[in-house]
């Protein structure tokens, strides 16, 4: 049996990176949340903040472990699967990864020990400091990895000597044209992702009448953040889009499934709401469009022109369907986030948030929204960069390692198997921790005190609890 090494290597990278990206996106936000709770605890003295922080620390530990192990895999895959990329881009990418290890990984991994095991051992202030260091480490890690990724999207500050990239200006390498947008977009996405998990957990407790005090605090904090950050994210995303139009026009054309030039279709570009892009005929089937809106969004003017896919040579075009659909999923979920955040803020303002069942009931299940949105966005930007691995410099097909197809097929099969076992286990255990609730996280877990039974979910009971704790 013949294996196509490029396809296998691409599937393997997409698979492992998709699994990996989930955990850091969650832990970047969660570390910041735990640090915030700890600081609030010190500042206000409210035991509630401490309890919630301890509770989420357990979830953090499980997610962080999964992020670490899947990340180590990725750090070696540049060499195992994409060795030609490592050689061509190594002079530039290497130090960015190196700085990530030195400034971020050691910081978070070392202080994690104090964060998880120092509760009873170190002074309060030092523990809070460790939590802040872990949060700083996770964010610094995002900084460097996005600098590397952005450089692959919009390379700058380098020259090619014998086909090998040599850095000429490190500040330009790091702060390459798409970096600020990508970094802001990703970090905001991480915070939103975590906020939605916190919101769903809080809603679950409030709805069931368990740990209502903690659940309300979680919900209040999450809704406050989402109501502000979700619209900000839409604005950042829009700016990022403009930047992409400037530097990666073929990606935008694929996202919009926009085939012809603006002139072909009368001066302005419509917004394609839905279509099945057809790469054979170079048109869209079943297209639903809104005239002028494409121009307005992309160029901020009604008759703005953008390049169509047909203006790029066939071998320079990214695949169309994946960026097109993934983008629509990302934007759709982003709009849903804004709606949820504002509705929640409205209900909070009217003091009806914790009684509104039609809002609380579905909210318990909203936790995956951030993860799905991030994955969709990741597919837009990474598939949209094709057929290049370093945009305009190195094609994906030229970046591959000299490894036999069967070896790649074997490793891919093992990755799928191992990740399926390990990560479904992780999600199961996180869910169990959530089901157990924050009380189990108390400093001295009271023996023999059962959690409040689910029966107390009964509306009257909950109203009574709420009234008492209001």
């Amino acid at each position: 049996m013949e294996f196509d090494p490029i396809l296998l290597a691409r599937i393997q990278f997409a698979f492992t990176v998709s699994f990996h990206v989930i955990f850091p996106s969650f832990t970047i936000g969660l570390a910041a949340y735990i640090a915030t709770l700890e600081v609030l605890w010190i500042a206000t003295g409210h035991e509630r903040y401490h309890r919630i922080a301890r509770f989420f620390t357990k979830i953090f530990a499980v997610s962080f472990a999964m992020g670490v192990v899947s990340g180590i895999v990725l750090s070696y895959q540049f060499g195992t699967n994409w060795s030609r990329f490592a050689h061509v881009g190594g002079n530039v990418i290497g130090p960015l990864i190196g700085y990530e290890v030195l400034t971020a990984f050691f910081l978070e991994a070392t202080f994690l020990g104090i964060m998880l095991f120092g509760w009873n051992r170190v002074p309060r202030g030092l523990h809070v400091f460790a939590c802040v260091m872990v949060a700083a480490g996770t964010s610094l890690s995002a900084f460097w990895i996005l600098a590397a990724n952005s450089w692959m999207q919009t390379p700058a500050g380098y020259e090619l000597i014998d086909g090998i990239a040599h850095p000429t200006d490190w500040l330009t390498v790091i702060f390459n044209p798409s970096f600020p947008y990508r970094f802001a977009h990703m970090v905001t996405a991480c915070y939103l992702t975590t906020a939605f998990v916190v919101l769903a957990v809080g809603a679950r407790y409030v709805y069931a009448g368990r740990y209502p005090e903690d659940g309300r605090t979680m919900m209040r904090m999450a809704i406050g953040l989402i109501a502000i950050l979700a619209p900000v994210q839409a604005f950042i995303g829009d700016s990022h889009g403009l930047n992409t139009l400037e530097h990666q026009p073929a990606k935008i054309a694929a996202i919009e499934a926009h085939w012809g030039s603006s002139e072909d279709i009368g001066g302005s570009v419509p917004l394609v709401l839905f279509a099945i892009p057809n790469e054979e005929t170079e048109t869209n089937d079943y297209q639903i469009e809104i005239p002028y809106l494409g121009s307005l969004i992309l160029t901020h003017s009604l008759d703005g022109k953008i390049k169509g896919l047909k203006e790029f040579a066939r071998e320079d075009r990214p695949p169309v369907a994946i960026p097109f659909f993934a983008f629509r999923i990302m934007v759709g979920l982003g709009l849903l986030m804004i709606a949820v955040g504002w509705l929640g803020a409205f209900l909070l303002w009217r003091r009806r948030l914790f009684e509104t069942d039609w809002y609380l009931a579905p909210l318990q299940h909203i936790w995956p929204i951030g993860f799905v949105t991030i994955l969709a966005g990741w597919f837009v930007t990474e598939v949209g960069r094709q057929p290049y691995v370093i945009y305009g410099v190195l094609r994906t097909e030229d970046a591959i390692s000299p490894v036999a197809g069967w070896a790649l097929a074997t490793s891919l099969a093992l990755f799928v198997l191992v990740y399926a076992v390990v990560f479904s286990g992780g999600i199961y255990y996180i869910n169990r921790l959530i089901a157990k609730g924050p009380e189990g996280a108390a400093l001295d877990p009271p023996e023999g005190v059962p959690n409040r039974p689910l029966a107390s979910a009964h509306k009257a009971t909950r109203a009574a609890i709420n009234a008492r704790e209001e």
Partner: protein
């Protein structure tokens, strides 16, 4: 090789030393926590297993970061070597990484699980053992040499699978088990510590036998290594390495007998470093033995300098807070400690 003693000569030498330090840190630090995992199945009961795991729980994550620095450092300073070694040792690298996945998550899952707890104990022990084995295979595969044509790996996916590499794999498992056992001598109390001490006394001779086998095998199988060690005057300069190793091994044995708690651990670290030095002497200046030297695979000077500046400032800070955390969690493992 032209003799141009300038920046382009020094930088790769500095970087190969830094890389060697990073890998040595990894071998010592993750060595003892992997070794603890290798010893996991031999613990008397689940309580002892908890104790063992808690002895490394605050550190393992930081320890494993040195592995990322080792791989990352190779990419930073010697991207060509990185792009040749990784495909050449493709399967053992992947197997090692997957073993580390199983083992890493077991730290957290084992505490959260109840009925499936034993499965994560198995996954922890199996993952630790396999990761150690494949690290040894990687070492062997690297020492025995890599086939290179036109600056790229030109061999097959199973080139590494020689009896030599497999013996190196078993040797590393034994070595890590030894350092794991003397770590437990230091960090546990009572019956657990006594069992660890007894185990160390079995493992120490085994490790010495493996060191002897590898030390004899390499010069016999690889003439370039024989030439390095057994020509004058090298012979006289290098003879202290095996002699000090033997003396130190005797010391560790006596310290174990006399009931010392800390000295055996530091003694075994010394043994590791001596073995490591021996390999370094056999290999340097080749980064892809026997074809490419550190100079031929080095990154652009601008990249090496950029990274060196950061390393000079950051490495002492990193070492500082690592020492701080080890100091903070010094002493015997306390029962029931942690966030669980």
């Amino acid at each position: 090789m032209a003799i141009t003693v300038g920046m382009e000569w020094y930088l790769p030498v500095i970087w190969s030393l830094l890389l060697a330090v990073a890998i040595a840190m990894y071998v010592v630090l993750d060595g003892f926590d992997l070794g603890m995992g290798i010893l996991f199945p031999f613990a008397a009961n689940d309580r002892e297993r908890d104790q063992m795991m808690n002895s490394v729980a605050p550190f393992w994550d930081g320890n494993e970061t040195w592995l990322v620095l080792g791989g990352g450092g190779l990419l930073v300073a010697f991207p060509l070597a990185y792009s040749i070694v990784m495909p050449a040792l493709y399967l053992p690298v992947i197997f090692m990484l997957l073993a580390l996945v199983f083992r890493g998550v077991a730290f957290e899952f084992r505490h959260v699980a109840d009925t499936s707890r034993y499965l994560w104990s198995i996954s922890f022990a199996g993952g630790s053992t396999l990761a150690a084995f494949f690290q040894g295979v990687l070492l062997g595969g690297f020492v025995q040499g890599i086939k290179v044509e036109n600056n790229a790996f030109a061999g097959g996916p199973l080139d590494w699978a020689t009896p030599f590499a497999l013996v190196c794999g078993v040797a590393v498992v034994a070595g890590y088990a030894l350092i794991g056992s003397v770590w437990l001598v230091m960090k546990t109390e009572g019956a657990a510590a006594e069992r660890a001490r007894a185990r160390a006394k079995v493992l120490l001779p085994a490790v010495l036998v493996f060191m002897a086998i590898v030390s004899l095998w390499t010069p016999i199988a690889f003439p370039r290594i024989a030439e390095r060690w057994f020509t004058t005057p090298n012979l006289f300069y290098l003879a202290p390495v095996p002699l000090i190793t033997l003396a130190l091994a005797y010391g560790v044995w006596r310290w174990l007998e006399k009931g010392y708690e800390h000295l055996p651990f530091f003694g075994v670290i010394g043994l590791f470093l001596l073995g490591y030095l021996g390999i370094g002497i056999s290999i340097f200046p080749y980064l892809i033995p026997p074809t490419l030297t550190v100079w031929e695979t080095a990154a652009a000077p601008a990249s090496q300098i950029f990274m060196l500046i950061g390393t000079v400032f950051l490495l002492p800070i990193i070492l500082g807070y690592i020492v701080f955390v080890y100091w903070l969690f010094r002493g015997k493992v306390r029962e029931g400690e942690g966030y669980h």
